[in-house]
Symmetry: C2
DNA sequence: TATTTATGTATAGCTTAGTTATAAATGGCG
DNA sequence: CGCCATTTATAACTAAGCTATACATAAATA
């Protein structure tokens, strides 16, 4: 009687490849699994082994597949563990819990303080995680890892948070190291735009897309690139700072030290600043967007102007990178076509046409949950750094 | 007695992987070959087979390897075939012939006419190829394929040359299709900057580099990206149009329809234009650079200004992409630090510092041969599209 | 019922990880 | 200087297991 789960090197490696594929892409048919680079025979054997010990289960037939015998989805048993996403934004801390079957179990948030020191902020996040785990019935030792999103660039090699981070107390901090200590969990730290891009590719409007530019507006504007199905973060991990594209060489001074950066013209602060005279102080960007949808001409105008400015940077990005799809996410996304139409117009005026159509520009599906769920999805996707250990 | 070369599927596939690696990276040791993803045992078997039929040969011991038994380089027998590179620039047509051992055998050129129709230009190129083949002793049927470089974007799906191509008679033409007919050879067409980047990665300053941004100045300025060892050309194949980055919204009108594009400020034409008053007409960019090296203040100044403008675009590119290395190639490269120092200064002023050092900016090694040899190297590298057939 | 696609099962040939042996260099040491 | 330990490359062999292939079966559609 052979053991249910063989321990030989090659078999073990292939089991891990299958598990990694199921973590990253969710339940699949056996036939689709063969595309990870293993033969059907091997997939069959590996799935058999994993099903025997209860790590994968048949989810049920995959309908809507047209002709032929309906395939059956196999997926990881979700209850084997969870991943946690944490978004640390300037005024909010969000936490998401996600199971191994790529199901979002819970999403909570609490107000944050952008002047609080990192330990205080992370301690608050830790409490939110405990609460979320209690409500979903998981223990801390069932958490594979926590993904943490910050509004700024993070240097891959050293883990230090860059100066351009809009959450100033975190600048120069090794957030991953600190978070590991405070949260007592395996941790991953990345930029908010990068992680939101992961979420839109995992669950949202770009599901399955292999080449994506995801433009994310929060306090600043960043972009997350997915190239060939994987996040592209640059040599140092700091790619994506589209918010500091120079739009107007003689414009306002940006906190990066430059002048006329996109951030000084089109981030939510800049938009609200334009309305102070006419609409008074105290507006939030959500108010502006709501007013615009209700027909307020001033609000429509400032959003359109922001779209045009973003369009200039997007055209430069398009000329350089030729992405397949551009998704707009973050606080400006609810503006929809009020922002996107002028953006496209502005981009089209500056884009080099080789003959092909410009890439579609669409709003993300995931709203404010994009970043925090992306943080959880990034943990789910990184089966190497966050291995699933049988309890 | 088993056949020297087995015909079974798996073995054949692995032979092709080995051959592809040797074409792309040149002669390697058996140990290095194992890094293509096959075991040492398989490499051993495959090389044995290929050596037996004379497709690979032991080049000799690889010296300067430190401790241990010296490895022995194995490589493709160069004389099995050749690849051809063709550069169609605005005023020159260049041809290179390269053998399967990555050795450049010959490099010739002839004047071109940027108003001639594509058939005329390609016919002239065909004659140059014939002459080059005659001088190197190869027949046309020994040519695996010809790589053709054009000064503009080429749409991947349709093969059409984009409007931004500075060689106007080629705009809107399916150059690959036409060239196949005129040259009677398998053909690949790509942008000059992309192919020069391939050359610098294959033979030049970026040899072995896996992430590179190669800024190339000819009639316009373009950039070729190597990401993870492979050319990144974008969803449509038209990435890299850095020359149309908007630098001055109110600047000169560019032939792309925009205003103040980098090309209007820093390409060779623009540089020469700045010197017309003081230095008269008839200067070439090479003259300007020579005068600058000799101490001419005006020439130094306009080159420095061009460097500063390129630095603005390079900073935007750096903020977006965070490349590991930036190489300057093309007609401006001989200016060396006269151009590069101001470029770096300008880039540093606008780049977002996450904490890491900015990427090194260096001049390419390959000079005017970069593009044409890159075109040959691209054919060499694409073992799928240009298979080596035993004669 | 014919067609189509997914899955199940089996096998010959091949690849892999691992082990052991041999080859050929360097560097330290007597 | 020669000798020896060390280091790295190549070579040869084996058990485990992967791949391509073939064929059978299952379950849907037209």
């Amino acid at each position: 009687m052979s053991p249910a789960v063989s321990g030989y090197t090659q078999r073990r490696a292939n089991r891990e490849r299958v598990i990694a594929a199921l973590r990253r892409q969710g339940a699949m048919t056996r036939a689709a699994l063969a595309n990870v680079g293993l033969s059907r025979s091997t997939i069959q054997n590996v799935i058999e082994e994993l099903a025997e010990v209860g790590m994968v289960i048949e989810i049920g037939p995959y309908t809507a597949s047209g002709l032929g015998r309906p395939p059956v989805l196999v997926g990881l048993r979700g209850s084997l563990g969870v991943t946690v996403g944490v978004e640390i934004a300037n005024w909010t801390i969000r936490v998401a819990v996600c199971d191994l079957a790529q199901k979002l179990l819970l999403h909570t948030s609490a107000p944050g303080d952008d002047r609080a020191d990192p330990v205080t902020t992370l301690t608050k996040a830790s409490a939110l995680i405990d609460e979320a785990l209690a409500r979903t019935g998981f223990r801390r030792d069932q958490v594979l890892g926590a993904g943490i999103a910050l509004p700024g660039p993070i240097q891959r090699r050293t883990g230090l948070v860059g100066r351009a981070c809009t959450l100033k107390p975190f600048v120069g901090v090794n957030c991953a190291k600190l978070a590991r200590e405070v949260l007592r969990l395996p941790v991953l730290v990345d930029n908010d735009a990068n992680l939101a891009a992961v979420a839109e590719v995992t669950w949202g409007v770009a599901k399955g897309c292999r080449d994506l530019a995801y433009v994310y507006s929060a306090t600043g504007i960043g972009v997350g690139f997915v190239v060939n199905g994987n996040l592209y973060a640059g040599a140092n991990g700091t790619a994506g700072e589209i918010g500091h594209t120079t739009i107007d060489e003689n414009g306002l001074v940006c906190d990066c030290g430059g002048r006329g950066c996109l951030n000084t013209l089109a981030n939510p602060d800049a938009i609200i600043r334009n309305l102070k005279q006419s609409h008074g102080a105290g507006l939030t960007i959500a108010d502006v967007i709501a007013l615009a949808h209700a027909g307020d001409a001033g609000c429509r105008r400032v959003l359109a102007d922001a779209g045009r400015h973003i369009g200039v940077a997007a055209a430069n990005m398009y000329n350089l990178l030729d992405p397949e799809l551009i998704v707009i996410g973050g606080s400006l996304a609810p503006a929809g076509e009020i922002l996107i139409d002028p953006l496209c117009e502005s981009m089209a005026r500056r884009a080099i046409h080789a003959g092909q159509a410009l890439p579609p520009v669409i709003a993300g599906y995931l709203g404010e949950e994009a970043v925090v769920t992306g943080a959880a999805a990034a943990v789910l996707a990184d089966a190497d750094a966050f291995p699933l250990r049988p309890a």
